[in-house]
């Protein structure tokens, strides 16, 4: 199944600090619940693991994460993630485009568009829950990411 999610959130930190965090997979992925980066396999190319649970159905993906576009001038990234369930229960693909825009008060506004394709058990049994779970995951990500930014700001 395919789903498109559009999300925006704001943080008080400036765009440069946010950008620095966003292009570092170890920093940003650390904030996504269930995601871990195992190794870098090429330029802007990483391997990791993604675990998700949609109600009764869970999946653990071996994931391939790729910064397809890193546009420092416009503070825009395009990130793709492909994962195959380690038990052969399906796969998932995501393309995320994210922009950071400077706010008048000095903070940043982040706009993300995610196109997700999911096949297999999750699509079959969890489709009703995907939007709800995604919203929940995004909330957790925003909370983690904001904390990380605040900590970095304090340390600096």
């Amino acid at each position: 199944m395919k789903a498109q999610l559009e999300k925006s959130f704001e943080v008080p930190q400036g765009t440069e600090l946010v950008w620095e965090h966003l292009i570092d997979p170890n920093k940003v992925m650390d904030c996504v619940p269930g995601v871990s980066i195992d190794e870098q396999v090429g330029e802007n190319h990483y391997k990791g693991k993604v675990g998700m649970k949609f109600g009764p159905i869970g999946a653990k993906y071996d994931a391939d994460i790729h910064y397809k576009e890193v546009d420092a001038d416009n503070h825009k990234i395009i990130l793709t993630g492909n994962g195959v369930d380690v038990k052969g229960n399906g796969n998932a693909e995501m393309t995320m485009t994210m922009n950071i825009n400077k706010k008048e008060d000095g903070g940043s506004k982040l706009d993300a568009v995610m196109d997700v394709t999911i096949n297999g058990k999750i699509a079959q049994f969890g489709s009703r829950l995907i939007t709800t779970v995604s919203n929940q995951l995004f909330k957790q990500f925003v909370s983690n990411f904001s904390k990380k930014l605040a900590a970095a700001e304090a340390a600096a």
């Binding site: 199944m1 052969g88 096949n119 049994f125 489709s127 009703r128």
Partner: protein
């Protein structure tokens, strides 16, 4: 209404006797497949594909086999060694038992895990590692024929595209001409989506092969045990399973509705597994496996109906695209790839019709079963009944009046339909008028006019359908070459009690009662003294099973004819006992008496006793008879259904206020059972009309493969059904009876759809495909306001 020839105690035709089979079900003593437990029994669980279309690069069994209690993982490669990895379908296509290289639909069987315990088998299935290479599936059947669409079945010789077959009936040229010249023409593309029978009991089997006796015993959820025995012998004969060594037992069946006609791959794997291991193997499908395997309907029908300006119907044309999934495993008679779809000309008298159909492969589950209807009759009836309503709206005519104007008249039977059927009997006008009277049609029309003035949405929908059931005459109807007769074998014991066995198999229809009543009617032996058995191929006479409303038309007829053979023999015995000639005797239910001297008589029980104890010289002892009944024609049950709905404009919510169903199924054996069957069929009619559809996304994922998402109506969604009958006996059936249990499933959806669309007519809405959900109605209202 029902003229009973027998007393209530004898309980022949027309008596609403209580069912003989109830006691075991009411006390939890039914014996369904999952209740069967054999010594040393193993459990099988299938690993299924998460993808709609993928190459299988590797199957790693190791981790599964390492689990304590997992005995085997069976793959397509394993079966290929015995040439059992493919099997033939009923319609000369081929279906994978287990794949060796490619999976063709989501949830297709990939391999099987055999373990000592149900839970351990599931653990094993979880531990099997399958390496897939996903490919882009074809989900939309209209795209299956696109230039450059991937060829889904390269395994089939001469298969150049995804087209399976073309079928047509009627005169295309003349029909086109009449349509071109007609005053009024209405057209519509109508889709009847994939649905699933979702019997509350899923499918399953317990297969047990004894290596010493070389006998195979299979307890199986099947509506056609004898046919299955023959199929197993044909498919597995080369490995040494020959038909006399195969015993299929169809125990109590928790609902069939056509879903238990096919041979599912897992049955074959279980049989292969027990054959190799020598221990009983049980496989029980879980609900999501059930819902995503097998289907009914999925016809896209482009319909055209033409009439003159007065509303006289002149021609009907339908061009259909059928989505069969990756193989044509439709459960149809061999010569009828589209089943009885050519009944689509309906209950109306006109000369010209043309129907054609193209079937295509897609990456969906195969199936093509009935969902409680005779082969593809629901599709046909929906097409014509929707179109007649559309014509009425276009002409500004009352849909009831338009139907009355166009009906085949009572004196036109037997009626030759434009597409080649010979309708046996009916009185369509009387049936519709009875329905109109019972519901108060004219009052509702007035109420509707008032409500429309207030801006309220109220609809009245009619369906006046003709079914074609009871396959069938051997000259036309066969399954894998086996003629579609059915059978009855009666043994009357010395004390006058009887045991009768049949080639059919009840799945809730009440055969144990109905057949006993037929024999009670014919022999005068009380129904309570007659035991009925079905479903064991070692004991029952050969027959093609129960589906397509064929049991009463075929096996019921066989029972009557076999009983009449016994009555003839009984007459000879009675003549001997009474020392008169046969010609001097007359039969009255339960006894033979001397003409003009009724005090000189012998009861059937006395006659039967004599057949064992005081046999006339030269006569063969015993009192037994068998008959294999080859019907001269099908039976054509019909009915008039009227539905009244109200639709809430703001939300699209649909409230079914009334539903009246008048059925004409000829002579009635047990009115209580017939009424019960009609109730059930009606709920399975509202189900696809308003709730059920198997939905796929563009990637071929099934989106509603559980009963959380696939909406089987509960007692709340199911309206209070109001039923009634007209009786027009079948002229060719020995009892004048026709099939009935599927009529309501066939007739109800267009009545409901017509009612909802009628409610929406003031907004300019002309058609909605089923299931007509509140969301769909709401969207249509938004689009039209």
């Amino acid at each position: 209404m029902f003229n009973c020839k027998t007393s209530a105690e004898v309980g022949g035709m027309g008596h609403s006797v209580k069912r003989k089979e109830d006691a075991r079900f009411l006390h939890g003593k039914g014996n369904y497949v999952d209740d069967v437990k054999l010594p040393g029994m193993l459990h099988m669980v299938m690993v299924r594909s998460p993808y709609a279309y993928a190459k299988i690069k590797n199957i790693n069994k190791e981790k599964a086999l390492a689990i304590d209690g997992v005995l085997a993982v069976i793959t397509g490669e394993d079966l290929a060694q015995y040439n059992l990895h493919w099997m033939p379908t009923l319609l000369s296509d081929t279906q994978m038992v287990l794949p060796t290289d490619t999976v063709m639909h989501q949830a297709q069987e990939v391999c099987a895990v055999i373990a000592t315990d149900r839970y351990v088998a599931v653990d094993g299935a979880e531990a099997v590692e399958v390496d897939y290479e996903p490919m882009d599936p074809i989900v939309d059947p209209f795209k299956a024929l696109d230039e450059g669409a991937p060829l889904l079945r390269p395994d089939k010789e001469n298969q150049k595209d995804n087209h399976i077959y073309h079928w047509e009936r009627g005169d295309r040229e003349k029909t086109d001409k009449v349509i071109a010249d007609a005053d009024v023409v209405v057209t519509e593309r109508i889709h009847l989506p994939r649905i699933h029978v979702a019997s509350i009991e899923t499918c399953g089997c317990v297969a047990s092969y004894d290596k010493d006796t070389e006998k195979l015993l299979v307890y199986l959820t099947t509506q056609a045990p004898h046919a299955i025995r023959t199929v197993v012998a044909l498919v597995a004969g080369h490995v040494g399973l020959s038909e006399e060594k195969i015993r299929i037992i169809s125990p109590d069946i928790g609902g069939g509705f056509g879903g238990k006609v096919p041979v599912y791959p897992a049955y074959v794997v279980a049989i292969a597994a027990t054959f190799l291991i020598g221990k009983p193997v049980k496989w029980i499908e879980d609900r999501s496996e059930n819902l995503v395997n097998g289907f009914a309907r999925d016809y896209h029908m482009d319909c055209t109906l033409a009439a003159d300006k007065n509303g006289k119907i002149q021609a009907f044309k339908v061009k259909t695209l059928a989505d069969h999934g990756y193989t044509d495993s439709s459960a149809n008679p061999s010569k009828f790839p589209t089943g009885m779809f050519s009944i689509c000309t309906g209950s109306y008298d006109y000369e010209h019709a043309f129907a054609e159909l193209d079937a295509v492969y897609t990456n969906k589950a195969p199936g093509g079963v009935a969902y409680r209807c005779s082969f593809r009759v629901t599709e046909a009836v929906h097409a014509i009944e929707r179109m007649v309503d559309k014509l009425a709206h276009k002409l500004g005519k009352d849909p009831a009046m338009l139907r009355l104007q166009n009906f085949i008249k009572k004196d036109q039977f037997p009626y030759s339909s434009p597409l080649g059927w010979s309708y046996d009997s009916g009185d369509y006008e009387a049936t519709l008028k009875k329905a109109m009277e019972m519901i108060g049609y004219d009052d509702y029309k007035k109420e509707q006019a008032e409500k429309r003035k207030e801006g309220k949405l109220m609809g009245i929908g009619i369906s006046t359908f003709t079914e074609v059931v009871g396959a069938g005459p051997s000259k036309d109807f066969d399954i894998l070459g086996i003629a579609m007769f059915d059978s009855a074998e009666i043994r009357v014991h010395p004390t006058g009690k009887a045991l009768a066995r049949f080639g059919t198999k009840s799945q809730g229809q009440g055969h144990e009662t109905t057949y006993a009543q037929i024999l009670a009617e014919e022999l005068g032996i009380p129904y309570s003294d007659i035991e009925i058995e079905e479903g064991d191929t070692d004991t029952a006479p050969y027959g093609l099973g129960t589906y397509a409303s064929r049991s009463t038309p075929t096996a019921g007829a066989a029972a009557a004819v076999a009983a009449r053979k016994l009555r003839d023999k009984g007459k000879k015995i009675a003549a001997y006992l009474l020392e008169v000639s046969e010609e001097d005797l007359e039969w009255e239910v339960g006894k033979y008496f001397v003409k003009g001297a009724p005090e000189k008589s012998k009861t059937i029980q006395e006659v039967v006793f004599a057949a064992y104890t005081n046999i006339p010289p030269g006569m063969e002892p015993g009192f037994e008879a068998t008959h294999y009944y080859d019907p001269p024609n099908l039976t054509f049950p019909n009915g008039a259904y009227i539905c009244v709905v109200e639709v809430e404009k703001e939300t699209g919510a649909i409230d079914v206020k009334r539903f009246v169903a008048i059925d004409d199924c000829g002579n009635i054996i047990n009115p209580m059972i017939v009424e019960g069957q009609v109730h059930g069929g009606l709920t399975q009619g509202i189900a696809p009309a308003m709730y059920e559809a198997i939905e796929y996304d563009d990637e071929g994922n099934v989106l509603n493969g559980t009963l959380m998402d696939y909406l089987v109506p509960t007692a709340v969604e199911s309206p209070h059904w109001e039923t009634g009958h007209t009786i027009t006996p079948s002229p060719h059936h020995p009892l004048g009876a026709k099939g009935v249990a599927e009529s309501p499933t066939v007739g109800a959806p267009p009545a409901i759809a017509n009612a909802i669309i009628d409610a929406l007519t003031p907004l300019g809405i002309e058609h909605l495909d089923i299931p007509i959900t509140p969301a769909k109605v709401w969207e249509a209202i938004q689009a039209h306001s």
